[in-house]
């Protein structure tokens, strides 16, 4: 992905943010509602409160905010993950959509990948030191150092690490395909329904203070709203 595209995307986000103000004042357009409709919804439904997630990581930790009620399981995020990370068809993608059944109601879909935990157990247990927490708190693996012992899979509370014939593979927020640390990865970019958001955790929580933090010993950077 070229830098120009990224700048363009930023511009688009700025424009959309301006649009959100309009949306809040009740004069929204359909496109803006698609991008920010969930935020509006959160404002409209203040009674539905969960545990208020506190920012658990260092300043600048990036994370995902997932809004299951907006997710239609269209798989756009999953397909974007496959396309941009060049994951072969026979291998599973690094992002997946999990279906949660509900009694008497439509099922909920939750899109997840690596949670880029504040205290990643995978990095702690990796004997080779192949997994590191880098810029913007992104957890990534060095395939030239990984020995493929699969201890990271057992350590991860979310069963995230996968293995191909060379090493462990997982989401690196698209660093491997050229997205800069902190910039929106392709999966969140591909979501048309406001179900998958990416950003600095503190910013995400500021926008959506009622978000529920996913609870695990590793302090994952994943919130649900």
């Amino acid at each position: 992905m070229s830098k120009t595209t990224l700048l363009n995307r930023r511009e688009a986000v700025k424009m959309a943010a301006a649009g959100a103000l309009l949306a809040a004042s009740g004069s929204c357009i359909v496109v803006v509602q698609q991008a920010f409709g969930d935020d509006v919804q959160a404002e409209e439904e203040p009674e539905k409160k969960g545990d208020v997630g506190a920012p658990v990581a260092v300043n600048g930790q990036v994370g995902f905010l997932v809004k299951p009620k907006n997710c239609l399981n269209c798989q756009a995020c999953v397909e974007a993950c496959r396309k941009f990370n060049k994951i072969p068809d026979e291998e599973p993608t690094w992002r997946r959509v999990t279906k949660y059944e509900r009694d008497g109601e439509a099922p909920l879909f939750v899109s997840t990948s690596c949670m880029h935990c504040a205290d990643p157990a995978c990095a702690t247990v990796c004997p080779a030191g192949a997994i590191t927490k880098g810029e913007a708190g992104i957890v990534s693996v060095n395939p030239d150092r990984c020995i493929g012992c699969k201890y990271c899979y057992q350590a991860c509370p979310f069963s995230v690490p996968q293995y191909n014939s060379q090493s462990m593979v997982k989401c690196d927020c698209c660093l491997g395909n050229g997205v800069k640390p902190g910039e929106t990865p392709h999966c969140a970019e591909a979501c048309n329904f406001g179900a998958l958001h990416f950003g600095i955790v503190a910013d995400l929580l500021e926008k959506c203070p009622d978000a529920v933090v996913v609870d695990a010993s590793t302090a994952p950077s994943l919130y649900l709203a």
Partner: protein, 321 residues
């Protein structure tokens, strides 16, 4: 195999069994050697060599499970992150193999004679050296035995493993299977070397104590996990424990681990203790083989039942109120 943990297959399971048994066998062999001395030299040396074979085969199994075994063999690079228990474990097992081999060299008649030819002062040093290395080896053996459980305990993704009771269970089982291995070796040497009644009794008492302890730890581990669960982690722990005691692994758990691996050796040890005759040898052998079968099965079913929790489901439940 559906619904079971299969990312780690049979190699790590067998490694955990062999590593534990080898470590336990070294400890038991040292008890025999330092109590009986020359009288049971053959039993002790062969037991130490069997311990070395167990650890080396275990390490080779672990290497074969890696995606890049060759890179894994570059230990200084591949086991360099000391926040990982696997790193500590790899080096401890490596050190244990070296020390066990040195002990075997000191204890073996031919090997010590061979070294004496090259190193003149070696012969005089042998008793002292064997004692020091023996003590170091016992310490390393206990570390290896505990490590096999700590490796699993330090994986927070698997609630069944993520408890300090698991290293307790594996350490006790390692010593139990280690004593069993020495009993098998002693049975083979029974015509040449007559183990003193005192030492034989110590081993039988050890078997009884270890079996009772293992039953207690196993019961504590499983009862602490079974039952109602209010979190995703507790639910996964309960599901794992349920697979073991009443699910698809239950026949192996009750049949091979509890009956063959614990009850049989317990009965055999008590019988051998009472019989005090030539029949005691064969009774101990049967008990020992049962303990090994049970110890091996235990590692396999604990690995297979190690399910992951789904913490996201807990968050979804909170979200829905």
């Amino acid at each position: 195999m559906e619904g079971l943990q299969v990312v780690w297959g049979w190699q790590p399971a067998l490694y955990l069994f062999l590593g534990g048994m080898g470590a336990g066998a070294f400890v038991a062999a040292m008890i025999v050697y330092f109590r009986e001395g020359e009288k049971c030299r053959g039993t002790a040396v062969v037991s130490v060599l069997a311990a070395v074979v167990c650890l080396v085969v275990g390490l080779l199994l672990l290497l074969s499970e890696l995606i890049t075994p060759l890179r894994g063999m570059m230990m200084w690079q591949s086991f360099s992150n000391f926040t990982s228990w696997m790193t500590f474990g790899a080096w401890i097992v490596f050190a244990a193999v070296v020390v066990f081999v040195l002990v075997a060299v000191c204890m073996g008649k031919r090997s010590s004679a061979l070294v004496s030819k090259v190193w003149k002062g070696f012969e005089g040093l042998v008793p002292k050296l064997a004692r020091i290395l023996g003590v170091v080896g016992v310490a390393l053996g206990l570390c290896v035995a505990a490590y096999t459980g700590i490796l699993l305990m330090s994986a927070p993704g698997v609630p069944l493993w993520n408890t300090p009771l698991l290293p307790c269970l594996f350490t006790v089982s390692a010593l139990d299977t280690g004593v069993a291995l020495v009993e098998v070796v002693a049975f083979v040497f029974r015509k040449k070397e007559d183990m003193g009644e005192g030492t034989a009794k110590i081993l039988e008492i050890a078997v009884v104590a270890l079996v009772v302890l293992e039953l207690a730890v196993l019961a504590l581990l499983l009862t602490s996990m079974l039952g109602e669960a209010d979190t995703a982690v507790a639910a996964a722990a309960a599901q794992s424990a349920s697979i073991l005691v009443e699910g698809q692994l239950a026949p192996f758990f009750w049949g091979l681990v509890v009956a063959v691996g614990l009850a049989l050796p317990l009965v055999a040890a008590v019988l051998a203790f009472v019989l005090k005759s030539k029949k005691a040898g064969i009774t101990s052998l049967v008990g020992a083989i049962g303990a090994m079968v049970g110890g091996c099965t235990l590692r396999f079913i604990i690995i297979l039942a190690g399910l992951h929790a789904d913490p996201v489901m807990g968050a979804v439940a909170v979200l829905l109120g």
